[in-house]
Structures are given as C-alpha cells and as structure tokens.
C-alpha cells in the first residue's frame, strides 16, 4: 500500500500496525482509489498513438500505474489521450466521444499537434489544439513525446487527481455539466457557439457583393472556449474594417 499518499499527514501511526491501519480523509481515500485505476481510452489519431502503444509495451509498461486497461469504448474510460493531430473532419467525433465519457473525465493533449497544432498548424484542415473544444488537464510537449514523457504526463495527471476535493468538483455539483456542442462540418468547421459570427460574415459578404467594392468575408475559426463573445466583437470589428 502506498501509505504516503493515503495517510493524512500529521497523525502518528505506530509502526507495528502501519500495514493495517490508515488515518485518512474521504477525499484522500477516494482519490487514492481513482488515481490508481485511470483507464485511458484506446484512441489514437496519428503518430503519437504509436508512442502511446510503445508506452503500453514491455519497456515502459504503464500497467505499473494501473492504467493498462485501454478501453475502446468511451463509456468505460476515464482519460482521453488525444494522441495526434486533430483535424477539422475529426473534431465532431472527438467531441462526441468526450461527451459520451462518464464523469469524472480527463483529457490529455499528447504532443505538439494536440496541444497547439504543431507543425501542421498552418494547414487548412488542422485545428490548432484540442483545447479549443475540450478542457485539457495535461499538455505533453514533444513531436512525438517519448513514452517516458507520456508516462510523466500521466503521473502529472495522477497528482492532479490527488488534489481534487469531492466537494467543489464540477461533476459532483447539483447542476449537470452541460455537454459540449458538437461542431458541424460546413464550408469550414463551424462551432455552434459561433454561429452568430459566421452568419454575420455571410451576410456581410452578401452586402459587400451588392455594393461594387470587393468584399472578403471575415470570420474567425471560432472555437475558443469561453471567450467566444469577446472574439465575436473582434470579428465584427474586422468585418467593418474590411
């Protein structure tokens, strides 16, 4: 038993009963159970997935940390390791998978692409980081990260789990956590949260074409979490500017 992480510090337990008795809090014992059985989803997008498999193989072997149970179904998984480049065509599926995972759920952005677009960021069908859609808990740098780096990221996630109080976690609140709206593939990837702005851009273009000036539709990709409203204003300002 990992006594250090289970016991609440400050309580002296006599050495002869240390293996049998533990003084702890509900948070600690609950998180201790959870952190040692984080089941990842078997979900590979690109190159990083190969290193994820290498981590599962004999040399690194992440089953030592209670993570070897890779579930192909999101409904049985705790951690989504986004291993690879997130493309616009794949985002609807990823968001849907995330919505299907039971809570508590975590997301690890593995590698440069999942964290921020990576070498393919400038591409036309590449999303600059999964954090535009999903809340990410741990980012792992590297292209691809070595299996050791990924292991380190998973340990960082365990530490994060250690410090989560039952009270105050979003998944134990009375209100259900709202699902993330699934983006739609249109002329570009469209986030339902940004429909207003896309609509404005389309109408602006129609007006511009009515007028002789050549108009260029301006809109933003749009998928920043939370700050969509602020960006919408910025987008509208640009439409006017052009």
């Amino acid at each position: 038993m990992e006594q250090e992480s289970l016991n609440k510090p400050g309580y002296e337990i006599p050495p002869e009963i240390q293996q049998q008795v533990s003084v702890t809090t509900l948070d600690r014992v609950y998180n201790w159970c959870r952190r040692n059985s984080l089941w990842p989803m078997m979900f590979g997008l690109a190159c990083c997935a190969i290193e994820m498999i290498a981590m599962a193989a004999s040399r690194i072997d992440f089953s030592r940390f209670g993570m070897e149970v890779m579930r192909p179904s999101p409904r049985q998984a705790d951690v989504m390791i986004v291993a690879g480049t997130v493309t616009k065509k794949m985002v609807p599926q990823i968001v849907r998978l995330y919505n299907q995972m039971p809570e508590p759920k975590y997301v690890i952005a593995m590698g440069a692409c999942a964290s921020g677009g990576g070498p393919f960021k400038e591409g036309y069908t590449v999303v600059s980081g999964i954090d535009r859609f999903l809340p990410v808990d741990v980012y792992i740098p590297g292209c691809p990260p070595t299996p050791q780096a990924l292991m380190n990221g998973l340990i960082a996630l365990q530490k994060k789990v250690d410090n989560e109080p039952i009270k105050g976690s979003r998944w134990y609140s009375k209100e259900p956590v709202p699902e993330i709206p699934v983006p739609v593939l249109g002329p570009d990837l469209m986030d339902p949260r940004n429909y207003d702005r896309i609509k404005a851009a389309g109408q602006q273009k129609a007006e511009d074409q009515a007028a002789p000036a050549e108009g260029q539709a301006v809109s933003e990709d749009g998928s920043e979490n939370g700050s969509a409203a602020g960006q919408a204003e910025a987008g509208a300002a640009q439409v006017k500017a052009s």
Binding site: A46, A56, T87, G123
Partner: protein, 578 residues
Amino acid sequence: MEQTIVSNSEDLAARFPQMVTADTRAGYEGYIVQPEHLVKFTKKLRDELGYDYLSSLTGVDYIEEGKFEIVYHLAKTTGGPGVVFKVKIPRDKPEVASITPIYRAAEFQEREVYDLFGVRFKNHPDLRRILTWEGFEGYPLRKDWKEPYYEEDAKPFKSRWPNGQVVRSEDNNPYNDNVQYPDGFDPEEWTYTGDELIYQALRRKHGLDSDMDTDQMIINLGPQHPSTHGVFRMVTLLEGETIIDLKPVFGYLHRNHEKIGERNTWLQNMPFTDRLDYISSMSNNFGYALAVEKLMGIKPPERAEYIRVMMAELTRIVSHLISIGFLGNDVGVFFTQVLYCLEERELILDIFEAVSGSRMMCNYFRFGGVARDLPEGVLDKVKDLVFNRLPRKIDDLDRYVTNNEIFKFRAQGVGVLTAEQAIQNGASGPILRASGVPYDLRRAAPYSIYDRFEFDVCTQEHGDTYDRYLVRLDEIRQSLRILQQVVRDIPDGPVQAGKPAYQVKVPPGEAYGRVEGPKGELGYYVVSQGKPNPYRYHVRAPSFINLTSLSDMCKGEKVADAVVILGSIDIVLGEVDR
C-alpha cells in the same frame, strides 16, 4: 541519375504524332497529350506497349499560364523505365476524361485531384470529395487559394521575426480570415450531407434505393474504432454478416502536407516527410531526398549511400514487425504478438535515436547525404542485431505464428486479391507481391546502390491475408540479408556531398523519385521553378493507393474479416490522408 523511370527508348511522339508532342520545357520530361486523345492514348500504352501499372496521377496548377496540368506516371510491372505524360487543361474549364476505366488505380487519385484542384473527371464512377469533406469551400491546392492561417506565399515568413522577436502567427493573423463563406450563408440552415451521399451511393449501386424493405443494412466501422489502425472509416453494406460492398472514407488525418510543402523551403520539407508514414520515417526521407537530388543532379558519397540503405532496411524491419504484430491484434491474439514485435522495434529505435536524435521522426537524410555520421558504437550494435539477435527472433516469431492453427484459419483464403486485380488497382509492396507479381522497385528500377546487394524478391501466389503475412516475414529476412552485406562493406569517408546547406539551389524542372518503402511504392513528384520553395510537392502514398483494393478484397467476406484484411494491407493513416 540514370534510374529515371522516364522512357527514352522509344519516341512516343513519333509513334503517335497526332495525339502527343514531346514536353520540351527545360528540366521536364515525357510527353504532352491532347486532352481529347487521352483515353485512346492511355489504352494504347497499356495494351500495345505494356505499361500496365499506373504509378502516380496528380495535378499541377500553372496559374501564370492559366492551365492545370494532370501528370501521369506509368510503369511496367515487368521492370524497366516508365513513362510520364501530361494533359493540359484550361483553368477556367477544368475538365478531363477519367482514366479510371483503364487503370482502377486512378480512382482515388482522381478524386484527390478533384478535391484539391477542382478538376472534374468525366466518367469517373464516384467523384466526391476525398480528403476534405462534402461542402468544403474552395480547392486548396490551387495557387490562388489561401488557407486560414495564410501569411505569405513562401517561407521563411518575414512576419515571424520582426525586429528580432518571435511573433506567433495567430497574434497578427486573426483566425480563419480567409475562410470564404457563401453569400448570406446561414449556419443554422446548413446540413452536412457527406455521409448521406455515401449511403445513397451504396444503396443505388445495389438497387436498394426503393421503398422496399430489405435485409441489407449499412454499418460504419470507424473513424474511432480499435481495429482501423488510426482514424479510418469503412462504410459497409451488409447482408447478415456478409459484406456486399464497402467504401473507405478518408481524410480524418488530412494534414495538408502538400499545401504546407509548397510554402516550405526544400529542406524544411524533410521533417514533414517523417510524419507521412510515421512508422517508417527513414524511407520517407529517402524518397524525398532522391527526388530532389535528381533535380539538383547530385549524388551522395559512398558511405552516405550505405548508411541510407542501412537505415531504410532497418525501417522496413520495424514497419513489417509492427504490421505482423498488429495483425495478431486483428485476428484476436490481443497484444501478445505485438509485444514480441515491439520488443525488437525498441532496439532498432535505439539505433535511430543514436544516429538522428529522435526515435520516430528521424529527419536524418539531407540532399546529397545524411545529416551526420554514425556515432561510435552504433555499427557494432547494428552488427549484433543483424547477425545475432534479429535472425533468431524472427525465427521465433515464425515458429509462434506461421503454423498456428487459429491464425491460419483466420488468414488463409481471406481477402484474396488476384494478380490482375492487384496490378489494375495499383497495389504495391507486399500486397502486390503476395498476389504473385514479383515487382520490387529495388530490383525493377534500382535506385541508390541496391543493384549491388544480393537479395530475393519475395512472392507468394494466393494473394490472401496469410500470404501477405508470409511475404512480410520473408522480407524481414531479406532485409537482414541486405543489412549483413551493408555492415560488411560499408566504407569510410564523408557522408555529405559538398557543404551542408540550409538553403539549396534547385534548378527548374520536375522530378519523380520513388523508392520501395515498407508499404509499397513511395513516390515524390516535385516541380521546381528555381525558387527556394518547391512549386509542387506531391506524395504518391502507397497505403493510400493500396486501399483501392480494399473493397475488392472484402466483398463476400464477413465483417470480422474486414478487420483482418485491413490489417493485412497495413495502412498508416498519416500517409493515407497526408
């Protein structure tokens, strides 16, 4: 290089004077065919001259001339030089006849050209978007199309380092300000029709679009499916458990290699090639280096050639080990077989890490050589691997798997591809050879120094999943044979022709470099206009074209076998979708 696949043995322009003219532009080869004679000419090439294998089909946007050029590379499976010809079509009316009825290998490649250039192919059986999605705005590889993060036409971007300070592109470039939405576009009215189009096409083909209640149903496998080796999707039409028809759906990992490649400088593309077939990065480097070296007219020194061959063959072993291992997963030996294979893979990756600094993305080749010499001790490690450990381990693997009753039961007679189908579908690599066609570029059109080594081209005759496994196992043994000769003969000397340079001068012209990668024929078509950046950079990805055969192999099989068949094709999505 003399290994060019362009035929100069016979002048086709003289033979078919009314149809073709020679391509006389400096640095260009081959012929220019009149669009109206394309089908007739291609048929003649196939039936009269024996060019039975369509290697590559792609487009180039010559915006200044106002023309699209469709470039066809043909070869003979009996070996020898190939032929290249082009069709010029006007940019404002991009339409050309499809050659899919002649070479089925063209099916996906024409769809790709349609998707990325907007060229319509008449009589194509299923012309839909392939890498992007139905409804995507614009044609990305046209030179006047700008991606959402567009800054400048070519790298290095001036905007990145103003006044010596790095600036992130999103700070001075608002996201997606180049995305064109149609006039008065209303996202709430929009419905995505891509999936429905596939289902309709399947139903219509099999006469199921009536109101009649039938037993057939459509099942999607993927894009998130543990057996699809990545983000690949198969739409299957089933009757019970039997597959009547199957359509692969691509593009879930389309990372815009070609568009980014045309903005990059020549050398900047090298690390991007790593990420094509991310299991075998060294072979990808090899192909690209060959293509550009052909344009530049340089040749690497002896030692570099040997190192290259050594790395390419080690890569082949890694790739085949992974393929064999995951085939175990697909037939139900969950992760047992893979663990044996990955153990050896780690040892080879250690060598890669030692020479290049990275396990998977090696970025090791340079134009005219390799990035650096082998570090001390690596050669001994390779020697130990290829003489002692690997032969023994491969024999072990052979013993565990080859005669396994269950494996045989799942693999023999499943997913049969005849030799004619394989050639017609443009299959390459182990798929083609397992069908009994002894076509290996290392023999058929030797590049680098492959003509010096003794090895056999492995073939089998049944063309089923089991034979594809056997071919891969044999190829590992042959690779070991080559490696043993390499470590025996490797000379001392420089590893780079001339001084290493970040910016290379590439004279104008075109080149097609192809290598026998682990998955099959990997080709790079590059066009230079004498600038620091390639004008066109196209990858002929073997896994992508091998998938043409998937529906042929799967028809009549059970759903569970589709998984095994896909595993035996050995796709890597980075290369399929690029």
